[in-house]
């Protein structure tokens, strides 16, 4: 009887072998869907033979990626656009998040929801809306400025040109960069212990000094994490540059890759070499992001405190005005003008006689393609959402709650889709589907697009569920085990029930993401499984902007509905 029990636990009690098998199965599945395509990309970058010819290995692609001026320029453009976006949006986002979470700004809940809704707007829709305002020839803003008595003549024609470097940066600031930071930072700021700020106030610092000297430094890890996340997301962009950059021959690497792929003789080697360069740049960012968030657990930001807010006093009205202007820019203008654009006879031309018409809606709704695309989109979005909730929650659970040996690897692998440009991920999946015999029948089906959405949505989905799980005390599960429940019963009756709002929100986010996904599915879709987002791209390619904006508006309305549902379900960007 006298044994020695060193009071240190080695493994969790439910580490039964079936559990290990399940975890390994998930890891294998994720590795196949994520690591294998990445490997294909790397290998393809050394494969210089043209499609259809015998394989030949070489460094031509790398040579092109590193030496050809056009490709070098596109890397440089990517860098400068990314830098400009982050530099502009970070201070602004920190300020807005502070206003929303730490002050008595009037209507802050509504404003927060507006940013949340704006985050869901498809970038392409926003781009089309702002073209109406900032087109150098016909944009309303430019026209209004030109009509001004004295200044108008001085400014000449079109002081604002959306088809420019700053035009692209502007759209990025509006679509992703600002809103994503605000919705990630605001809940984190809200969870901060108010005692830090109160101590500073009592010590004699004013509101502004407290914000700059206490709040921002305390939140530095979160801010850094959001910045890294934002940088990763911004390296992914595709549609905005495709629409705004191509007319003036401005390429970033994602549009360059697309360009290399859709020409008559596709340059797979150069395109994939570029992609590998991006991947190499992303990996340190991921490691940094994980390192920063790991450190955050030690910081003093917890959810246990009542956060009281600062009274802004007389400053609340200027602050409110600023917030409302931002909301108008990120949400109001895109929604109003996208809808307005659908009723224009000639998209962007307000000065033609009788500019308004219902014909665009009639044309699109009467198009056979529309009906099939809508059906494809609904199946695609629903399927992706359901699959994502199941797979992503399983990954998150294994990473957070089990002590499975490969859990860190699984966690890391779930980030990988962030590192691969969307177009390339689509291409790699294309190779995966065509190159794997048992998957070949899936090519051209909606299932292939669901797989693409599942993989591209993995980093965000897993992260949100992970942080939800981490907030869920482990004792709630242990209590169930003690009460006599098996692992599986506990998972069903405790974990899934408590996580239901988070899972529903992840499902909604994935639904919207799949509905508007362009980059991942552009190369995977055929006439049989073409969703609305690609139909809209086709319309743009055919210069049918009026029809494109109708589709864009429909996708936008679907997205906004999804945003509202996800918001009501109560998860507001608990990432990072």
């Amino acid at each position: 009887m006298a044994g020695v029990a060193v009071p240190r636990a080695a493994r969790p009690p439910w580490r039964i072998d079936t559990g290990t098998v399940l975890c390994s199965g998930v890891l294998a599945l994720v590795a196949f869907g994520v690591v294998y395509p990445v490997l294909l990309v790397v290998l393809q970058s050394f494969q210089t033979a043209l499609p259809g010819q015998p394989a030949r290995l070489g460094l031509d692609g790398w040579h092109a990626a590193l030496a050809e001026p056009a490709l070098r320029t596109s890397l440089w453009n990517t860098l400068t656009v990314t830098l400009a976006r982050q530099v502009i949006t970070l201070p602004l986002a920190v300020f807005v998040a502070w206003l929303l979470a730490r002050t008595d700004l009037p209507g802050r809940r509504g404003i927060e929801f507006a940013f949340w809704a704006a985050f869901f707007l498809p970038p392409l829709t926003v781009t089309l809306s702002w073209i109406l305002l900032l087109d150098p020839e016909y944009g309303l803003v430019n026209a209004a400025l030109a009509a001004l008595p004295v200044v108008g003549a001085r400014l000449g024609k079109g002081p604002f040109d959306i088809y420019s470097f700053w035009g692209i940066v502007w759209i990025h600031v509006i679509t992703g960069s600002l809103t994503v930071k605000v919705i990630l930072l605001t809940p984190a700021f809200r969870r901060m212990n108010a005692a830090f700020e109160e101590a500073s106030r009592v010590a004699g610092a004013g509101t502004l000094r407290t914000a700059l000297r206490i709040t921002v430094p305390v939140m530095a890890p979160v801010i850094l994490s959001v910045l890294l996340l934002g940088t990763m997301v911004s390296l992914q962009t595709f549609e905005v540059e495709q629409v705004l950059g191509t007319p003036f021959r401005f390429f970033v690497f994602s549009t360059t890759i697309y360009d290399l792929l859709v020409t008559r003789v596709p340059r797979y080697d150069a395109a994939t070499a570029l992609a590998v360069l991006v991947l190499a740049a992303m990996l340190p960012l991921i490691v940094a992001q994980q390192w920063v968030t790991r450190g955050r657990r030690y910081t003093t930001v917890t959810g246990q405190f009542q956060s009281r807010v600062h009274a802004l006093g007389a400053w609340r009205w200027p602050a409110l005005a600023l917030a409302l202007v931002l909301v108008a820019i990120v949400l109001g203008v895109p929604v109003v003008f996208a809808l307005l654009g659908t009723f224009m006879k000639l998209f962007g031309f307000f000065n033609v006689p009788e500019p308004w018409t219902l014909d665009n809606w009639r044309t699109v709704l009467g198009d056979d393609l529309f009906a099939s695309s809508l059906r494809n989109t609904v199946i695609l979005a629903l399927g992706t959402a359901l699959a994502a909730v199941m797979l992503h929650s399983l990954i998150a659970y294994i990473a957070v709650r089990t002590r499975y040996a490969g859990r860190r690897l699984l966690d890391f692998v779930s980030w990988l889709p962030f590192t691969v440009p969307g177009v390339i991920l689509g291409l790699a999946l294309l190779w995966l589907f065509l190159g794997t015999p048992f998957l070949r029948p899936l090519y051209g089906t909606t299932a292939a697009l669901i797989a693409a959405g599942l993989i591209s949505g993995m980093p965000l989905g897993v992260q949100i569920i992970k942080s939800g799980l981490m907030q869920l005390g482990g004792e709630l599960e242990e209590a169930s085990r003690i009460a006599g429940a098996t692992w599986w019963t506990t998972y069903r009756r405790i974990v899934l029930r408590l996580m239901a709002p988070t899972l529903a929100a992840v499902g909604m986010i994935t639904f919207v993401g799949a509905a508007r996904n362009i980059a991942n599915v552009a190369l995977l879709s055929t006439t049989a499984n073409r969703p609305l987002s690609i139909l809209q791209l086709d319309y743009i390619a055919e210069k049918k902007l009026e029809e494109a904006v109708v589709i864009a508006s429909i996708i936008m309305l679907i997205s906004l509905a999804g945003a509202a549902v996800a918001y009501v379900l109560g998860v507001r960007g608990n990432v990072g």
Binding site: M1, A2, G3, V4, A5, V6, P7, R8, A9, A10, R11, P12, P13, W14, G473, E475, L476, E478, A479, S480, R481, I482, A483, G484, A485, T486, W487, T489, R493, I494, R497, L498, A500
Partner: protein, 353 residues
């Protein structure tokens, strides 16, 4: 013979049926891990755990019974009340897992809720309960299926002082009524002393001493137990004389020249002139106003705090030593006052340094 056995770092702990057995120790001493090992929430690296004659964990025999098949009850530090369930559902959960019929469940839940005064809250969302109510609910959930052993992991630490005292009495009463065996983990010596039939004092994964509360307090087996259970005043000196079981000590330092007698706590004989520590519980010190400069120790009241039912005084003894004493309200005391400290030999223990 139905006793659960807990083996910790070489020592075997034996919890007798129907008793409250407490693991007491500072944080990080391994008491919570021990509890979790018993619960089956951790796997032992070695040794054996037996519950009612059944081996539930044994490394050498490759036995590990998962927590859901041990029939234990547990109250967690955070209570772990499931927020998505009502009060009724929380208590009914373990019963439905055991396949009880609906009427049976209803009846048992009603009975156990009534026992702790939660009747009428069945339909309420569990998250709307107060801290004390949540704890009672957690207790109900752990007791409703009549477990073989009830595990309590610091259950009072989240309650305020008054509620804590009340819950101590309630738990004691309930335990007596049900005759249930309890394994209790705490770092609070008052909780341990007041609730337990027996206490195991733990330090760094080792059991220092096992015994009933009084014997632990009055006859600690080691300096760690002496200092951890209750507070102690310690003076240094050398043995100056001895009779069987008794030592007389000449104090060192500023108190040189004063002699104190006490019980010897050394295992072997102590040589005259050996360095020793003299220990006494502050409440055993007889405080008086100074009458003569002779035998009792002299002290000076540095600070005097009125705490309601008594005074709390910090007293300088000699030049360096400061001790905290509780002084009765019935006398007038003031700061700077000289007092005399009497040390009754029966209350004084002498330890090898």
């Amino acid at each position: 013979m139905f006793a659960p056995h807990v083996a910790v770092d070489g020592a075997t702990l034996d919890v007798r049926r129907g008793e409250v057995f407490t693991l007491l120790g500072p944080s990080g001493c391994g008491k919570t891990t021990t509890l979790r090992l018993v619960a089956g929430l951790e796997r032992p690296d070695g040794g054996e755990i037996m519950l009612r004659g059944r081996i539930v964990a044994s490394v050498s025999r490759r036995v590990f019974v998962p927590p859901n098949r041990r029939n234990l009850g547990m109250v967690f530090q955070s209570y772990a009340i499931w927020p998505h369930m009502s009060v009724f559902d929380n208590v009914a959960y373990p019963l439905t897992l055991r396949g009880l019929g609906r009427a049976d469940v209803r009846e048992r839940v009603a009975r156990v809720l009534d026992m702790v005064g939660l009747s009428g809250t069945e339909a309420r969302a569990a998250t709307l309960l107060s801290g004390g109510q949540m704890q009672r609910l957690a207790l109900c959930r752990a007791l409703v299926y009549e477990p073989d052993l009830l595990l309590l992991d610091e259950p009072f630490s989240n309650l305020d002082a008054k509620l804590r005292e009340q819950m101590r009495h309630e738990l004691r009463l309930l335990q007596r009524r049900l005759g249930i065996t309890v394994l209790f983990v705490t770092h609070d010596q008052i909780e341990a002393l007041s609730l337990s039939d027996r206490i195991a004092v733990m330090q760094r994964g080792r059991v220092e001493q096992v015994g009933p509360p009084r014997s632990l307090y009055e006859a600690p087996a080691s300096a760690f137990v002496r200092d951890f259970v209750g507070s102690t005043v310690i003076l240094r000196g050398r043995v100056s004389g001895q009779t069987p079981g008794r030592l007389t000590v000449a104090l060192n330092g500023p108190l040189r020249g004063r002699h104190i007698a006490g019980r010897s706590m050394a295992a072997a004989a102590v040589a005259t002139g050996a360095e020793v520590h003299v220990a006494i519980r502050p409440e055993d010190i007889e405080v008086d106003v100074v009458r003569s400069e002779s035998e009792p120790l002299p002290g000076i009241i540095d600070t005097l705090l009125f705490v309601g039912d008594r005074y709390e005084a910090r007293v300088s003894v000699g030049a360096e030593q400061r001790i905290v004493l509780l002084l009765p309200r019935t006398r007038e005391w003031k700061e700077g006052q000289a007092i005399s400290l009497g040390l009754p030999p029966d209350a004084v223990s002498v330890w090898p340094a």
